[in-house]
């Protein structure tokens, strides 16, 4: 059996927290560039140009592109034949977040209790989603999530009779209601099916998919394209100032569900949708 020491995990998470916040991913940058060609609103164009400039400054100076450096959402895929050595995995992941936010000059935005609202001071705990997969490797994805966009998502337990049309209307309405709050141009994560929590999880996970890559299922890819077109006809535009670029992408994921239901979840990612990942290979244990 192969193993990975927790120290290696801590250090990987620390680096990913910083990198995700400093470096806009290239797919979103490409999305901005192509929006510059299709946008016709003068203010919209100005916003897009400033967002590109902002990303350049953040990258060059290695500072956060946005001051809301988010709650750290982690997706962890553990190979079932891997052993984690030297300590508790959850503790190690949180320690990585703690060090990354402290050493990376990232804002600490987590409160310990939703009612008392006292800041934990180190941006922990992270939100951790574990998955067990075949193999001996450990895949770590860090996706810091700002709440300007997180607050604008939604869930509807649709009736099966509402069908695809009802699900699509809910997605478009949710984006319309969000207006300029989630810092458009946005990425729209949509999860349909499963149970209540499965659909919200799928919507969040959909935000990890690169802008411009459609669902591999052609039927779902077509739904994504139609939703994107409808959303961009809403007129919200960059920052909500009016324009043709409200969303850069709609990413849809589906899952089998119950005969009596059709949960539909929308998770909105802002233009600073951040995610960085690494896969650590296990070593032979001594």
């Amino acid at each position: 059996m192969k193993e990975i020491h927790v120290d290696e995990i801590i250090s990987a998470i620390r680096t990913l927290c910083m990198e995700a916040n400093y470096n806009l991913s290239s797919d979103i940058m490409t999305g901005f560039q192509s929006a510059l060609k299709s946008e016709s609103s003068p203010l919209g164009l100005e916003v897009l140009e400033r967002l590109i400039e902002n990303a350049d400054i953040a990258h060059k100076e290695q500072v956060p592109m946005c001051q809301d450096t988010g709650m750290a959402v982690l997706f962890v895929e553990i190979g079932q034949d891997l052993h984690i050595a030297g300590g508790n995995l959850t503790d190690a992941l949180n320690e990585g977040v703690r060090q990354g936010y402290e050493q990376g000059f990232l804002r600490k935005s987590v409160v310990k209790d939703p009612f008392d609202r006292v800041n934990t001071g180190d941006n922990t705990p992270a939100i951790i989603h574990y998955d067990i997969v075949p193999g001996e490797a450990l895949r770590l994805i860090v996706a810091p999530k700002g709440f300007g966009s997180e607050n604008m998502g939604g869930l509807k337990m649709c009736k099966p009779s509402e069908g695809l049309a009802g699900a699509m209307d809910f997605v478009v309405d949710t984006v319309d209601r969000a207006g300029g709050n989630p810092c458009p141009p946005i990425i729209v994560g949509v999860g349909v099916g499963g149970t209540m929590e499965k659909s919200t999880f799928l919507a969040k996970k959909a935000l990890l998919r690169e802008v411009g890559i459609h669902n591999q299922d052609e039927r779902l890819a077509n739904i994504e394209k139609e939703l994107l077109e409808r959303i961009n006809r809403l007129g919200i535009g960059p920052q909500g100032f009016g324009g043709l670029t409200t969303a850069l992408a709609v990413n849809l994921e589906v899952y089998p569900t119950h005969i009596a239901g059709m949960p539909v979840s929308v998770n909105i990612g802002c233009h600073a949708t951040r995610h960085k990942e690494i896969t650590l290979q296990g070593r032979e244990s001594k």
Partner: protein
């Protein structure tokens, strides 16, 4: 690119009259920062008859909670936060003479009514452009509520701070007019 209006603070009623929804503005001079927690404290201070951290007349508040500054930086990344969370407090500060707010996102009818009644504008800064905006901040100094950390009230001196007039003192709202212009559904 659209035409740019240069505005110096303090933001007097005189200057307000020249600002219309959709205007592209570069602000220079002193502005103050505050988010939810600081707003709550300021409004509580008002209710108890205590002094505010700064006199509101003709001043501008920027809704922001920056990241910690790195060595050599005046301030960390400093983009706007969602303004709606300040809606409960803003009318009380506008009544005290506040003439400008900078944030992002929708405002409540109560805020817009207070803006029309007393004369104030709402600017949008570019949400998420924290690194770029930090470059336009010349100095930053905590003047109240240091215990709030990133949420403390700071006095900023800004130079060419980029902002768009979202709602002017007549209540014209770019979020509505801009959307209507490009909406095809």
């Amino acid at each position: 690119m659209s035409d740019v209006k240069r505005i110096e603070t303090p933001l007097t009623q005189e200057k307000l009259k020249t600002l219309k929804a959709g205007d592209n503005v570069l602000l220079s001079g002193v502005i103050y920062t505050g988010r939810d927690a600081a707003h709550k404290k300021m409004v509580e201070a008002l209710e108890q008859g205590l002094e505010l951290p700064f006199a509101m007349k003709d001043q501008v508040i920027y809704f922001v909670g920056p990241t910690p500054a790195k060595e050599g930086q005046v301030i960390g990344s400093a983009g706007p936060t969602t303004s709606g969370r300040m809606d409960a407090y803003s009318p009380k500060l506008i009544a005290q003479g506040l003439t400008g707010m900078i944030g992002k996102g929708l405002r409540s009818p109560e805020v817009i009514d207070a803006m029309k009644e007393h004369g104030a504008v709402y600017f949008g800064a570019i949400g998420g452009a924290g690194a770029l905006i930090a470059k336009r901040i010349v100095s930053a100094e905590v003047i109240a509520y240091p215990e709030l950390g990133p949420e403390a009230v700071r006095r900023l001196v800004v130079k060419d701070f980029p902002a768009i007039v979202i709602i002017d003192q007549e209540g014209t709202n770019l979020y509505e007019s801009g959307k209507a212009r490009y909406r095809t559904v």
